[in-house]
């Protein structure tokens, strides 16, 4: 069974936000909710890099661990999904998630966050595949259509990869090898400063 994963190639991500709007478009996500976001590091300085981040569908997902109502479940593909019918909007998954994935429709006064919403890896929710209910709550189920998440499919520079972890890592490995020295070689930037440069 495939293990679904996301990988964002920081050497390629240009912070164009297509992943963000593609997601909004595909799932009709309202204003204020961002299942995916792009973070830019060292903004405006040499070394600036951007990374697109959403739910990473962790193997040992913190959200699943801390949910007081156990609304999360992991599919056989490793996709972490949740049941909005069970969710009570407590916000604990947001406290635990390293990636800031959980989003809430309301602002959080009197704890009224509403049902948590997050990236589904375009795999819908516990409802029947392609049902109107599923779409309403979780957006479209592309996985059931035999497709991959729309954010990765529409990435402008193919920086964001999604799919079977083995294939994703193979693609990335090929890229790193292709780039060779200076791009992605661990520690080289530190160890060999000033050598072999034109």
């Amino acid at each position: 069974m495939a293990r679904m994963k996301f990988l964002c190639d920081a050497e390629r991500c240009i912070e164009c936000n297509s992943c963000v709007t593609a997601c909004k478009n595909e799932h009709e996500i309202p204003w204020g909710i961002n299942r995916r976001r792009v973070v830019t590091l060292s903004d405006g300085k040499p070394g600036e890099r951007s990374i697109s981040v959403a739910c990473m569908h962790c193997s040992d997902a913190p959200c699943m661990a801390v949910c007081p109502v156990d609304c999360f479940y992991q599919t056989a593909n490793g996709v972490v999904l949740h049941d909005k019918d069970l969710c009570i909007g407590c916000g604990y998954c947001f406290f635990a998630c390293p990636f800031g994935a959980p989003q809430y429709p309301q602002a959080g006064n009197f704890g009224s966050r509403g049902k948590m919403d997050k990236c589904t890896f375009c795999a819908g929710g516990p409802e029947d595949d392609h049902s109107a209910e599923e779409f309403k709550k979780y957006g479209r189920n592309r996985i059931a259509e035999g497709k991959l998440p729309i954010c990765a499919e529409m990435c402008s520079t193919k920086a964001l990869l999604a799919g079977d972890g083995n294939i994703v890592s193979n693609i990335y490995r090929e890229r790193v090898v292709g780039r060779g020295f200076g791009s992605g070689a661990w520690g080289w930037g530190r160890a060999y400063i000033g050598e072999g440069r034109t």
């Binding site: 961002n34 590091l41 040499p46 406290f95 635990a96 009197f110 200076g182 930037g189």
Partner: protein
């Protein structure tokens, strides 16, 4: 009415002022890239404004990221951090320490109470009820107490459902029912939470007199509160009650503060503060609930005659003599015959006694 207006005002204020960035995470630590900027600069100096062989991968750069380096985010509720590293720690603290050990602390508290009951049984009035009573708590005192008690119980039960429901309740009633219960618990908790603050202030105001520690308390402690044998003299409140009062006041305040932060997340400037608040709130809750169990036990099942003070407000004279002899002496001016007593140091003059008894009755 005041209270409702206050809550409504807070709510409105929150709606108007509160930006969506309520949950925004901002580092309170110094920028994690402080060192790395130096490296960037070093590279720049050597090879121009950026290197000619491709943006190279610096392990330090990514290591910083792992520890929560700030970036510039597109939008949304999750702020500027790529990786919020303390989330994992929070998870461990909550899952392992709070839920697991917290649960055991409560279980242990119950176990000890049961054990105590089995060993010691109900503390009876040695002399039996006399039928003659003296006034211990006025109606306002009792109202304040029961107001707090009801809110405390509601918050405790709802809080415990959120804390331990998944472990204890869910296997019994199933996910769906548990979700409904938990949702109700959370809503209830959030709704009654602010009332706890009112109750706490009221309670503190009403009961603070007489709850300051005195020399008698030291003796009471030395005698183990009389539980271990010899009688321990006590005033209006014995040391246990005073301790309980101050626990409620101090821990309660902490609960109130952390609770407010959690209830109005925009008050917190960082996710970290929210995370800490949840943990502190849970620890405080366990401490308070455990102590409250003891308080409830001793006030009801554990001691004959104790409950009267919070129901009718009048306690049997015998109860007063046996448990709060100094208070009894103060109120009545009569010395309690106590073979083990070392003799009272001073006999209060009548004016003082009458004054005190007046205040307790009003």
């Amino acid at each position: 009415m005041d209270l409702r207006e206050l809550v409504a005002a807070m709510f409105l204020f929150a709606l108007i002022v509160m930006p969506l960035e309520s949950l925004q995470a901002q580092s309170v630590r110094p920028p994690a890239n402080a060192v790395n900027q130096g490296i960037d600069k070093q590279i720049d100096e050597q090879i121009g404004t950026s290197n000619t062989l491709g943006t190279n991968s610096q392990s330090d750069y990514w290591r910083d990221l792992r520890h929560g380096k700030d970036g510039l985010a597109t939008s949304g509720q999750s702020g500027r951090k790529l990786i919020q590293a303390q989330g994992e720690q929070w998870r461990i603290v909550r899952k392992t320490y709070i839920v697991k050990y917290g649960g055991w602390v409560l279980a242990t508290a119950i176990f000890l109470i049961v054990l105590f009951y089995l060993i010691r049984g109900k503390i009876r009035l040695k002399a039996g009820r006399s039928g003659e009573t003296i006034s211990r708590f006025s109606l306002p005192h009792r109202t304040a107490h029961w107001f707090m008690a009801s809110i405390f119980i509601l918050l405790s039960i709802s809080g415990l459902i959120l804390l331990l429901g998944r472990t204890v309740l869910m296997p019994v009633i199933g996910k769906n029912a548990h979700s409904i219960v938990a949702s109700a618990a959370m809503q209830g908790h959030n709704l009654f939470g602010p009332l706890f603050i009112v109750a706490l202030i009221w309670l503190t105001f009403m009961f603070i007199r007489g709850n300051f520690f005195q020399m008698a308390d030291l003796k009471w402690i030395l005698k183990g509160g009389g539980l271990l044998g010899p009688h321990a003299s006590a005033g209006h409140y014995n040391f246990g009650e005073k301790g309980w009062f101050w626990l409620v006041v101090i821990a309660g305040s902490i609960m109130a503060i952390t609770g407010m932060i959690l209830e109005f997340p925009w008050l917190a400037e960082s996710l970290q503060l929210l995370q800490i608040s949840v943990i502190v709130h849970a620890i405080g809750a366990i401490a308070l609930i455990s102590a409250a169990l003891g308080h409830i036990y001793i006030g009801t099942l554990g001691m004959e005659g104790a409950l009267d003070s919070m129901t009718t407000g009048d306690v049997d004279v015998v109860w007063a003599k046996e448990h709060h002899d100094l208070w009894y002496e103060e109120v009545t001016g009569q010395k309690v015959a106590n073979p083990e007593a070392e003799g009272s140091q001073s006999i209060p003059d009548h004016n003082q006694i009458s004054a005190q008894s007046q205040t307790t009755e009003t």
